[in-house]
Structure formats: C-alpha cells, structure tokens
C-alpha cells in the first residue's frame, strides 16, 4: 500500500463524564484540567467534562443519554427551556468542538468511557478506514503491555452516528472495562491515563513529520445485539448471562455455545449460524436498552504508512 500523507492533527479534544458515573474519565479530565496548559504544547488540547450535572450526581444521565444525542437530527432540533438537559448540552458541545461534519470541528475527539463488561481497552469508532484512528490503535497495542487493546467499528453513516466522538473530524470512544459504575479502580484509571498519553505522543510524533509504518489491524465490526430472554407479559428478564460467557468478551462464540442460564436452571445456547465475537457482555447500562451482549465479525484490515 502506498504511504498516505495526512494533515496535522492540530486540535484535539479529550472528553470525560459523557456518562456521569463512568469515573475513570471523570477523574482523568479533572486531573488534566488542573494542569493548565502553558502554551508551549505542540498540540492544542481542549479538555471537557461533557455532562457536568450527571457527573455531579454520579448518574449515567439526568434526563436522556447524552451519548445518543449527536445524530444530525438531534443536533439540529430546536431546543427550548423544556428540552431535556442532555439535548441542550449536546448542541453546546457541538458548538464548542464541532460543528460536526464542518471544517471548524476539532481534528480528533477522544471520548473517555468505562463499562462493566470485561472489554479491556477498546477504541470504538464509525469508520474502518480512518488511518489516524487505526494507527493510534496500532500504537497503543504495541506500547501497552498489560492491557488488551482492540478496534471496534460500528458501520453507521455519519448523519446517524449518535455519539460525541462523531463530532470530531476523527474520533473514537476510548472504552475501558471492567469497572463498576460509580467506582474508580486504580488499574483502570492508570490504563486510561496511559492510553491518552500514548495517543498524545503519537499525535505529536505524527505532527512533527514521523512516518508510521503501515501494517495490519484486527477490526471488530458490530453485527447485531442480543437481548436477554424476557417474560412475554411482564418483560422481566428470565435469565442471566451464562457463567461460561460472562467476562469472555472477544472470545469467539460458536453456534451451540451457552449464552444464558435461566433462573429455572435451563441453559439457552447461541443459535446463530456464524461464529461471532461477543463484546459488551453484561453492561449494566444496557439492560434498559434491551442489550445483553453485542456480536461482531473480525477481519484484518491493512493500513498504509502515514506521515
């Protein structure tokens, strides 16, 4: 593959507290805000607490999930005093860091998240050919010894992309688990701090003209979600994620493998025809969204050298 020349990544945004109970990002953003920029940094970084009211209350959101408010429709909807807090806030963030899909948007937006699922570190984004994001992933994989790093792709067009990271010209959610909501675990905080630092190091090197060799990155593309089995009348869940699947994010799930253990004692198995990679297994915030786990296809993507 030919080397690709790309514009400098001169403006970066690091956002935490998009969900107010995902504490590693919240504490990391607070620490970064304490260390005031002195103007000599090679890259301009804006650090933002995305949902300060939710962070203050230590809840995921106050009225509606902020990280679903960044579709083109949501960003252009008229807002008033009676609009949900997060709808107003998403438009404020779009004005500050975007506007999405315009030349004024920040070059890279890194949105910090935690999950109760055993995902390790994931960079979650909407493109499987964004060389900047893919190279940052490759860099983190090479440098982070004790944390698995993976690239997760949601194949959704930009207009319908609903999360904060879609506001930047390049962007991803940096998602690290497992961590309960409302808790900060030092190992998770340190991994997030290291991930952000390595991202900044890569950007500085890239901007100063370093050539980064191409190669191959495994990309996990989301295929579908699976809900819990539920009672047909009450909609109450009737099973838990099976102990054989619990905590096995990114371990291949084969047709016939156990998926749920019903309270009645019955085991429900994966009935799909294709072996897929499960992730976000038993994320606490997804019960209300009807998602017990997500399933992805893995493929190797070739990335060019960039400079």
């Amino acid at each position: 593959m030919k080397a690709v020349a790309m514009p400098t990544v001169s403006r970066v945004a690091v956002c935490g507290g998009t969900h107010g109970n995902e504490l590693a990002g919240i504490y990391l953003v607070r620490e970064m805000l304490k260390k005031r920029a002195d103007g000599t940094e090679p890259v301009s970084v804006v650090t933002v607490m995305s949902n300060p009211r939710a962070a203050q209350l230590c809840v995921r959101y106050v009225e509606t999930d902020l990280n679903r408010c960044f579709t083109r429709a949501a960003l252009s909807a008229p807002v008033s005093e009676t609009s949900p807090y997060e709808m107003v806030r998403s438009q404020e963030l779009n004005a500050l860091l975007g506007p999405k899909a315009s030349m004024q948007a920040v070059d890279l937006l890194c949105d910090l998240h935690n999950t109760t699922a055993n995902t390790g570190l994931c960079l979650i984004t909407y493109s499987d050919r964004d060389w900047i994001c893919l190279h940052i992933c490759k860099h983190l994989q090479a440098q982070m010894a004790s944390t698995p790093v993976r690239y997760v792709h949601f194949d959704i067009p930009l207009n319908e992309a609903y999360s904060l990271d879609s506001v930047g010209k390049h962007g991803f959610a940096m998602e690290i688990g497992p961590q309960p909501h409302g808790v900060v675990r030092s190992v998770i905080f340190s991994a997030m701090q290291e991930g952000v630092q390595l991202m900044m190091d890569w950007i500085c090197q890239f901007n100063s003209g370093t050539l980064f060799e191409g190669g191959w990155v495994d990309v996990y593309t989301m295929v579908k979600n699976i809900d819990y089995p539920r009672d047909s009348e009450t909609h109450v869940i009737t099973a838990a994620v099976h102990p054989d699947l619990q905590d096995r994010d990114f371990c291949l799930l084969h047709p016939g493998d156990p998926m749920f253990l019903c309270f009645s004692g019955e085991t429900l198995r994966y009935r799909g025809k294709e072996a897929l990679y499960p992730f976000f297994i038993n994320e606490g915030a997804y019960y209300e969204k009807g998602v017990a786990l997500s399933l992805a296809r893995k493929r190797r993507v070739q990335i060019p050298s960039v400079l």
Partner: protein, 315 residues
C-alpha cells in the same frame, strides 16, 4: 433450661421475611424476591410463614440505590416514631410502614427472622452480616450455613460498633441477618452471584425448618470479622477524593493489612501507606455506594464467638 448440658431453649421461629431491593440497584435480591413472589415453591418450608418482599419499590423501579435517603439507615427510633406528616422523605415513610408490617421493632410481635439481600461492588464473596455477638439463634444459623456452603467460603461480618452500627431494614426482626454477595456492579445481574445468594437462602431456611422441628444444634464456634473503623479516601479542601484504593489493596477483602502496606494511590502516582499499629482485615473495599458516605473501606479484627447448644423451647 438444663444447666448441666447448657442448652439454650429458644422460641420457635414461625414468621420469616426475605427482603430484596432495600437498595434498588442491587440486582440479586430484587430478582430472587420477584421470582419468589411469582412462585414461592422453592422457599416453602413446613410450619413456616415466609414472606418475600421488595423493600424499596420506587428505587427498584428507577434502578437506583434510594429515592430521598438510604432505606438501610432509616430505621432509627426517631424515624420510626416520627408523626405521619406530609413531606417526610419517601424512605422514612417506607420505614414506618415496614415497621408496622414486620415489627414493631423490639416488640414480641416482630417477625422472627428477616434476611436482607444485598450486593456490593467489593470483592467480599459471600458474606453474612450480624448485628449481635450474643444472638445464639443467628450464630448457630451462620455456622450451619457456612458448613453447608463449604468448600465455598462464607465470611461473617459482625457490626456491633457503637458508632458505626446503623439502623438497618432487617433490624425490625428479632433475628436480623444481612446477606451481602459481591463483587457485582450496581444494576448488573451476574449468574454466579445470583446462584450463591439463592443457595445461601436455601440453607438458611433449611436450618430454621430443622430448628422448628425440634432438632438440637450442639455448641459451636464461629469465626467472625468484627467492625473496627471506617477509613475514608484522602480528600482535598473541596471534599473531592485525591486518591484511589491502591492496586495491592483492591479486591483484597478479608486479607490482612499491616502497617506499611500500600493503601491508596494518588492520581499523581504517590502511594499512601497504612499506618495503623495492628494488623486489620479490610472489607467493603471500594464499594460504589460508600464514596458519598466517606468510606473507602472498613477495618475489622478477627474474633471467635462461641455459641451454646440450642433447641426449640417446649410449650
């Protein structure tokens, strides 16, 4: 009472309640109680009235710990005797209502035993929580449960501390028992945690049924961890935490913590050491709900409690 063989004759335990959802985001108990309200076959026992009950339905509905105030701190004498006026916090109203249904606390009409089902984000495994070192019925019950659950460990936490003891939902009963199983994030149901709690309850009800049928339980000893002290996070002048539980302490509930051992890691990478004179056994390490209660973990000391033989009192 026979003084020669020192057997304590205790009243039959006829009325038992199982509380889930005292905290609305602790999913094992909520799921079990809802299941048993639908179909109680699994919890039925001869001669026993067993009531599964959702303590805080509004909090359960919102999947949050509490609405106005922590229900599991609300059963104070002041709250229970507060007049019925408008504007009382939801949980205080609820405490009064539950005291009428399952109490009154301290009276002979109160339920005999109440199991209060909880989860924690701490790595406590299966823990049974006692509020008295002299409740022979409870000591014999936890001894029975521990034996039945072996080789799976059940730790016993004793909170008899004059300042740190709190007015729990279950304290309405003559014999209150807390079940605390973790680690499990709030709002999440983990299969293994759910099944451990279910099995512990099965053994607890078996014990009560056996006791009521006249079985004599010989003298026994119970290893417990007695609550000593609450340790908060280091905080700045604004009250924000400045450090996290150290990686060497994280998940090490019930393991000895000695002077000089790492305790906290500040956000800028500095280690804070434990400076207490004696070895302690920390628990409730990094429980999500305790950040606002100024508690990073609790220290305990090990103790062995002895219990007389017990038998149901003859009429």
């Amino acid at each position: 009472m026979s003084s020669r063989t020192n057997i304590s004759c205790l009243q039959e335990a006829k009325r038992v309640a199982i509380f889930g959802g005292t905290h609305g985001n602790e999913m094992s108990g909520i799921t079990l109680v809802n299941m048993w309200i639908q179909n109680s076959a699994e919890i039925e026992r001869n001669g026993l009235v067993i009531k599964p009950f959702i303590s805080n339905p509004r909090a359960v509905e919102k999947c949050t710990r509490y609405i106005d105030t922590d229900l599991n701190r609300a059963f104070t004498p002041e709250n229970l005797s507060a007049p019925d006026v408008e504007g009382l916090p939801y949980e205080v109203q609820r405490a009064k209502e539950m005291n009428r249904m399952f109490g009154p606390k301290g009276s002979s009409d109160a339920y005999d035993a109440i199991f209060d089902l909880h989860n924690t984000t701490s790595n406590m495994g299966s823990t049974l929580i006692l509020e008295s070192s002299t409740d022979l019925f409870n000591l014999q019950m936890v001894h029975y449960i521990k034996k039945a659950m072996a080789p799976h460990t059940c730790s016993v936490l004793l909170n008899e501390h004059p300042q740190l003891k709190y007015s729990t939902t279950r304290s309405v009963a003559k014999h209150p028992i807390g079940l605390e199983v973790g680690p499990q994030p709030q709002g999440v149901l983990r299969s293994n945690v759910f099944e451990f709690m279910r099995t512990i309850l099965k053994h607890a009800l078996d014990f009560i049924e056996l006791f009521n049928s006249g079985v004599e339980f010989p003298p026994c000893t119970v290893d417990v961890f007695r609550v000593q002290e609450r340790m908060d996070y280091p905080r700045d002048t604004n009250g924000n935490i400045t450090a996290m539980v150290h990686p060497h302490l994280q998940d090490c509930d019930w393991e000895p913590l000695n002077r000089g051992d790492p305790m906290f890691l500040t956000f800028d990478g500095r280690t804070v050491l434990y400076e207490g004179a004696n070895t302690v056994y920390p628990t409730f390490i990094n429980e999500a709900a305790y950040y606002e209660k100024q508690q990073a973990f609790m220290t305990t000391c090990r103790e062995i409690l002895a219990a007389n033989a017990i038998r149901k009192a003859c009429k």
